[in-house]
C-alpha cells in the first residue's frame, strides 16, 4: 500500500513539474519580447520592433493574383521599414466575415484588415472599432481615388475605410459556344431569351449561377430592376424602406420567367458560386454574370490555359423595350476596403502601412494582377490586356453604378434579401410576396 502511494505521489510530482515547466517556458518567452517594445515605445526610435497583423480574404488557391500582389507589397514595405514585421492571416470570404465578427466581439481585431462598405461596416463604426482615416485622405492620398468611391465608407462625414477594388458586373460569355450556334451577344432581353432557347435546344447550359451564395442571383435581379425601373429605383427603394414599385415586381416576374425557361444551370439553388464558376471555366455553360474580379482568370492568370482565355468575351446586360434603364448602367461598386483598428497598439504605423498599401496597390494591381483599383489609373501609360482596357473605359463612361443590394441593406435585411432571392429564383414565393416580404424586413429597420 505504501509503495502504491509513493508511486502515485511521484507521478503527481512529475506531472506538476511538467506543467510548471511549460508555464515558465511561456513566461520566459514573454519576458524576452516585452523589454524591446517597452523601451522603444518610450524613445520612439525607428528601430522599434513592430508586428502589424493583417487579415485578408484572398487565399492563394482561389485568388492567387491578389494574394501575390499583397505578398509583394508587404515585402516592399518590410524592406523599406526593416523594423516592421507584417503577419498575415488569410481566410475565405464567408469565413473571413465570421472571424471578423468574433474578433471584434473579443476586442481583438487585426491592426489592418478589409471590410465591406455601407451596411456591413456600420455596426463596426458605431461600435467604435475602426479608426477614422480622414488624415490620410487629406494628406498622402489626396485626390488619388476615383471620385465617389470612398463615399460608401463614410459615416457622419468621417471615412473609416479606403477601397482597394472597384468592380462592375459584366456578363461573360463563351465566344466559341456562341459561334457554334450562330449567336450574337444580346442587345435586348428578348435577344437573351432567344439565345437561351437556342442553347437549351442544343443541350448547352445557357447561364451558370451559384445561388447557394444568393448574392450571385441578386445580380440578375438587380439588373432586371435597373433595366425596367431605371438607375435610381433600387437605391431609392432601399433608402425609403419601400419595395412596392411595379418595376420591382415586374423584375421579379422576369427573373422567374428566366427560371421557367431553364436559363440557369440545373440545381443552381444548391450550387455555390465556385461550383457554378467551374461550369463556365470548363466550357460547359455559355454565360456567367460576375464581378470584374474574375477578369484575371480570363486575361492574366497563368493557371488558366490561354486557349480558354481567348474564348471569353463580355457583354453589357441587355435592355428591355420600354424600360427606363440604360445599357451603360452597371451593378457593382467598390469591393472591400482597408480599415485600421481603433484598438490597434500601433495606429500611426498601421495608417502609414495602409497609405503605402493603397498607393502600391494602385501601381501593381492592374498590371500584375489585373484588378481594377479604386485609385485612378492612367490607361495611357500602363500596358494591359484588351478586356481590361475595355472595362476601364466602360467604367469611365458608366452612367450609373448601383451598389450591390445586399451591401446597401442593413445586416438583417441583407440576410433576408439573400433568402428571398433564393426563394424567388426557386419559385417558392410569388413576385408580389417577394416584394412584400422585402418591404417588411426593410421597414423593421435592422
Amino acid at each position: 500500500m505504501k509503495r502504491k502511494m509513493l508511486a502515485a505521489c511521484t507521478l503527481i510530482l512529475a506531472l506538476v513539474l511538467v506543467v510548471t515547466a511549460c508555464g515558465s517556458g511561456s513566461n520566459n518567452g514573454k519576458k524576452n519580447s516585452s523589454p524591446s517594445s517597452s523601451d522603444s515605445g518610450a524613445s520612439k526610435s525607428s528601430d522599434e520592433k513592430i508586428t502589424l497583423k493583417l487579415m485578408h480574404l484572398w487565399p492563394d488557391g482561389s485568388n492567387s493574383a491578389q494574394n501575390k500582389v499583397i505578398k509583394q507589397i508587404i515585402e516592399e514595405y518590410q524592406n523599406a521599414n526593416p523594423n516592421v514585421t507584417i503577419k498575415t492571416e488569410v481566410l475565405e470570404n464567408e469565413q473571413y466575415k465570421s472571424k471578423l465578427k468574433v474578433l471584434s466581439a473579443s476586442n481583438d481585431l487585426p491592426d489592418v484588415g478589409f471590410t465591406w462598405a455601407a451596411g456591413f461596416m456600420e455596426p463596426y463604426v458605431k461600435g467604435n472599432m475602426f479608426t477614422s482615416l480622414d488624415d490620410l485622405l487629406q494628406g498622402d492620398l489626396k485626390d488619388k481615388f476615383v471620385a465617389g468611391t470612398t463615399d460608401g465608407y463614410a459615416f457622419d462625414g468621417k471615412t473609416y475605410g479606403l477601397p482597394v477594388e472597384l468592380n462592375i458586373v459584366p456578363v461573360y460569355y463563351n465566344k466559341e459556344i456562341f459561334a457554334q450556334n450562330n449567336l450574337q451577344p444580346p442587345q435586348t432581353l428578348d435577344d437573351l431569351k432567344n439565345i437561351i432557347k437556342t442553347l437549351n435546344d442544343k443541350g448547352v447550359t445557357p447561364i451558370t449561377l451559384g445561388a447557394k451564395d444568393a448574392w450571385t442571383a441578386s445580380f440578375w435581379y438587380m439588373y432586371l430592376v435597373d433595366r425596367f425601373g431605371g438607375p435610381d429605383l433600387l437605391d431609392k427603394s432601399i433608402a425609403s424602406n419601400t419595395f412596392s414599385d411595379p418595376s420591382l415586381i415586374e423584375a421579379a416576374k422576369q427573373a422567374q420567367e428566366l427560371v421557367d425557361m431553364k436559363a440557369f444551370v440545373k440545381g443552381f439553388n444548391g450550387l455555390s458560386n465556385d461550383e457554378a464558376k467551374s461550369e463556365f471555366m470548363n466550357g460547359k455553360a455559355a454565360m456567367y454574370a460576375m464581378g470584374t474580379w474574375e477578369v484575371p482568370n480570363y486575361t492574366t492568370n497563368p493557371d488558366v490555359p490561354q486557349e480558354f482565355k481567348d474564348k471569353i468575351g463580355y457583354f453589357k446586360f441587355p435592355t428591355v423595350s420600354g424600360g427606363k434603364g440604360d445599357v451603360s448602367d452597371w451593378v457593382g461598386g467598390v469591393g472591400v476596403g482597408l480599415f485600421v483598428s481603433e484598438k490597434s497598439k500601433y495606429k500611426d504605423e498601421a495608417k502609414k502601412f495602409v497609405s503605402f498599401f493603397v498607393q502600391k496597390w494602385g501601381e501593381h494591381s492592374v498590371t500584375d494582377a489585373g484588378i481594377i483599383p479604386a485609385t485612378k489609373v492612367d490607361t495611357t501609360t500602363v500596358k494591359l490586356p484588351q478586356m481590361f482596357i475595355d472595362l476601364l473605359n466602360e467604367l469611365n463612361t458608366a452612367k450609373k453604378v448601383t451598389l450591390y443590394a445586399d451591401v446597401q441593406m442593413k445586416p438583417v435585411a441583407s440576410e433576408e434579401h439573400h433568402n428571398l432571392v433564393q426563394a424567388l429564383f426557386g419559385k417558392a414565393v410569388t413576385p408580389e410576396e417577394f416584394a412584400k416580404k422585402q418591404e417588411d424586413v426593410l421597414k423593421a429597420g435592422k
Binding site: M1, K4, M5, A8, K97, S98, K101, S104, A105, P123, Y124, K126, G127, M129, T205, A211, K212, A214, V265, K266, G267, F268, N269, G270, L271, E275, E279, K284, P411, V412, E415, N419, L420, Q422, A423, G426, A428, V429, K446
Partner: protein, 293 residues
C-alpha cells in the same frame, strides 16, 4: 490508497482543476448566453436590456419553428435508424466471416472530418456531374432530381450523409455491448432450444437495454444540435428549407448581427435538449434493471 481516497481534501484537490475548467468553459458561457438572450445586441455596440422580448419574438418566429420541426424530424429519424444499426451489430457480433472487415468499413466515415464528408457528398449530389444523377440517367430517368436545390427533398438528401457518418459509431457501441454478453447465457438459451431470432429478441437486446437508452439520448441530443454538415452543404438553404436550430442560431447571430436573439435561440436549444433528455429517461425507465455478471 484507500486512506488517500477517503480524505476529502485530497478528493477536492483532484477534482478541482477539471471542475474549474468545466465551469469556465461550459457552465459560465451557458449562463452568459442566457444573459445575452435578454439583451438587444449586435455583438459590437453596447447592449440594451429588453427583458424577455427576444423570447417572445422567438415564439412567433415561423422560421424558427420550421427549423425546430426539421431538427425534431431528424431526431426521430436518427432514433429509428438505431434499430438498423443494432441489427447490423447483431449480425457482426455473431461471429460471421469477415465481421472484422465489415466493422472497419462501417467505422470509416467516422474517421473522416465532417467537412470532408460534406465535400464528398456535394460531389455525389452534384445536379449534372454527380455520380448519383449519372446513375439515375443511366437507368433512364429523364428529370433527375436537384438534390440540394429542391426544397422538398433537400432535407432528406442531407439526412443520408449524416446518418451514414454516425452509423459506425452506433454500430461500434452496440457491437461492444453484444460482445460483452456472457457466452454462457447464450449457450444456455441454445440448449433450451431457442432459435437465433429468439436469442436476439428475448435475450441479447433486453440485456443491453441500458446501452440502448444511452444511444437514444445521444442520437436525439446529437440530432437536435446538429450543425456542421448542413452548414457546409446547403447553409440552411434554399430559402431555409434545410435550416435546423443550430444553423438558424448561427445565421441570426453571425449573418444578421443579432447576437441577443441568437443567444436566445441558443438558450432555447439548450432547454429543448434538456427536456428531451429528461423525457427519454422517463419514458425508458424500467423498475428492474437486468443484470448479468
Amino acid at each position: 490508497m484507500e486512506k488517500v481516497m477517503s480524505n476529502k481534501g485530497i478528493i477536492a484537490l483532484y477534482v478541482l482543476p477539471s471542475l474549474l475548467l468545466i465551469i469556465a468553459i461550459i457552465y459560465l458561457p451557458i449562463v452568459l448566453t442566457g444573459y445575452y438572450g435578454l439583451m438587444q445586441w449586435d455583438g459590437i455596440s453596447p447592449m440594451t436590456f429588453i427583458g424577455l422580448e427576444n423570447y417572445s419574438t422567438l415564439l412567433h418566429d415561423e422560421k424558427f419553428w420550421s427549423s425546430v420541426y426539421h431538427s425534431f424530424l431528424f431526431a426521430v429519424l436518427s432514433t429509428v435508424f438505431l434499430s438498423v444499426y443494432m441489427a447490423v451489430a447483431l449480425v457482426l457480433s455473431g461471429n460471421i466471416r469477415g465481421a472484422n472487415l465489415f466493422r472497419k468499413i462501417y467505422l470509416l466515415p467516422m474517421l473522416l472530418s465532417s467537412v470532408a464528408i460534406a465535400q464528398l457528398w456535394l460531389k455525389i449530389y452534384h445536379p449534372t456531374t454527380g455520380i448519383l444523377n449519372d446513375f439515375l440517367t443511366s437507368l433512364g430517368v429523364k428529370e433527375t432530381p436537384e438534390w440540394l436545390a429542391d426544397p422538398s427533398i433537400v432535407l432528406g438528401a442531407l439526412f443520408v450523409p449524416i446518418l451514414w457518418q454516425y452509423a459506425g459509431f452506433y454500430i461500434l457501441i452496440y457491437y461492444a455491448a453484444f460482445k460483452n454478453i456472457p457466452a454462457s447465457l447464450i449457450e444456455a438459451a441454445r440448449i433450451d432450444g431457442a432459435s437465433p431470432i429468439q436469442i436476439a429478441l428475448r435475450i441479447k437486446i433486453p440485456l443491453i437495454s441500458e446501452v440502448i437508452k444511452v444511444t437514444i439520448v445521444l442520437a436525439v441530443v446529437g440530432s437536435l444540435k446538429y450543425f456542421d454538415l448542413i452548414y457546409v452543404m446547403t447553409d440552411g438553404g434554399p430559402n431555409g428549407a434545410s435550416e435546423v436550430m443550430a444553423s438558424y442560431m448561427y445565421h441570426k447571430a453571425f449573418r444578421g448581427f443579432e447576437f441577443g436573439y441568437g443567444s436566445a435561440i441558443g438558450f432555447f436549444l439548450l432547454l429543448i435538449c434538456l427536456v428531451a433528455t429528461w423525457g427519454i429517461r422517463k419514458l425508458t425507465e424500467t423498475k428492474d434493471s437486468i443484470q448479468y455478471s
